[in-house]
Assembly symmetry: C3
Homo-oligomer: 215 residues x 3
């Protein structure tokens, strides 16, 4: 509906742009590692890397009717291929699960804030913009798990989607409260990252449903 | 291609609009209940509710190149969150499977007719518009089952997708035959609902494939 | 962004258009056969046929912001229904797995070239256009396998996605090198088809990931 705002990139800021490429690379690597666990070929590595790296942003762009970010600019797709190749040629022990969790936590928080900021700049109402941030952060990983036939990150007990909710939601609230994009971004990325850090360190999770039953 | 018609909402009529919100709520609740069966957190309840409640209409809108209905108006998303919260705080026994089946049957028929009507008002040819009705009615539930790792509604023997085909197809035929939108809608919703009712009551299903083999 | 080029269809050429309808029919039949293996109803046959036959092209069109090819023209959807009906009424033995593999190989190579050609005609950069060809060729089959709960073609050891990569990539390279669309198309379809033929005949596959580990 609305034309894409001219000043979208400056609004978002260079820091978020850099974090976004880092996020694409990390998510793509996590996709390639899922292919490695399944003992796949390099072509499948590339496919998984692409789906995981750009899947969330693709769904966001389709929903808000923005041009899909990696279709008119080859950089994100090349970033995903580079991640797939790197995972292919390096020893598996190079990729410690713990280190990946930390990088993934940075990518998750950055994607969530970036997605919410992009949606707001397209005139999407705040509540829906916050959802777009969560979609940006989580949908790539959900697609990776569906394709790999692994249990979805959606269904894991520790905080993951919630960290995206916190980053995305706090960004929208801070912007609503009048903060500038750079300051709101930094605070929101840190809040989501800290929550995810507590989940990694301490195994924090939300309470699960038990219902109110006699059994 | 075509600009969205100005008079889309009046054409569809208030009754279908109300049924559509009821359908979103019921489908969202069925998504939240799938999360409850998996003993998930409130955040996952909300995610499942959103995907199930708006998934079908989202795919329809993307296919017919309409603005995605819940992105520029927060009401449907808030409806899904309300359904998730209600399922979370009420005892499981409150949600009888049978009662849900009936509400779901209303939502399915209403979504199918609404989807076909919206597609026709965007100038989509009748045969494809009927498919869009089926997509609107069934895709949310298919996504819910994929995410939850449950057997898809697509693959259940009893009539489900067929009821959507009947509602959507009869609406398109009645409109083609010259009936007004309100009358065609009521008849088409009732036909699909009745067929689904027979499936719930009597376990009606279509014949399954056996092939023509010697065994 | 770019308006659809007026001369898109002539550019692609009649041969590719015919191959594309053949590809839709063959992929739709493979979807219906998946439904037959699951002993489903005719409605499910039709759903699987549609998803498999038009799924890849749909995702491509959404990504490159083209009108979804089967929404404004009912021919592809009717082709899919015809394939579903044909599979339903013919004996299972009529559909030899081997014959299907060969038809599927033609469809895969034609879809990959067609998808890359369409993306290039919409001004998509070459690297991304090659990816769009792979998406066009493979995503329908991936969706079919997800819905049917079968192991994905993505994860099979023999060359499949790679054949799409070869067809799509060679088309983009040949066009880049200055060849006309008809000549580039024929060469690219043949290259991908030959590779897939070697996979069917000889069981050729890419090396799978082993990592560099001590075990």
């Amino acid at each position: 509906m609305l034309p894409p705002p001219e000043n979208f990139t400056p609004q978002i800021g260079t820091v978020l742009q850099v974090l976004s490429i880092v996020g694409i690379f990390v998510f793509a690597a996590s996709g390639a590692l899922a292919a490695a666990r399944l003992r796949q070929t390099l072509v499948t590595f590339a496919f998984f890397a692409l789906v995981t790296g750009v899947g969330g942003g693709t769904v966001r762009d389709l929903l808000i009717d923005a041009p899909v970010f990696w279709v008119h600019d080859a950089t994100p797709a090349i970033t995903c291929m580079a991640a797939a190749l790197l995972v292919w040629i390096t020893p598996r022990s190079f990729w410690s699960d713990r280190a990946l969790d930390w990088l993934d936590a940075v990518g998750l928080a950055a994607f969530a804030v970036f997605g919410a900021a992009k949606a707001m700049s397209f005139g999407i109402p705040p509540f829906v913009a916050a959802i777009m941030g969560v979609v940006t952060g989580c949908v790539g990983g959900i697609m990776r798990d569906l394709l790999a036939g692994e249990p979805s990150i959606l269904l894991r007990p520790e905080l993951y989607v919630t960290a995206a909710v916190v980053s995305s939601g706090s960004f929208v609230l801070l912007r609503w409260g009048g903060l500038d994009v750079p300051i709101a971004s930094v605070i929101a990325v840190l809040l989501g990252f800290l929550l995810r850090a507590l989940a990694i360190w301490r195994g924090w999770g939300l309470p699960v449903y038990r219902g109110i039953r006699r059994e």
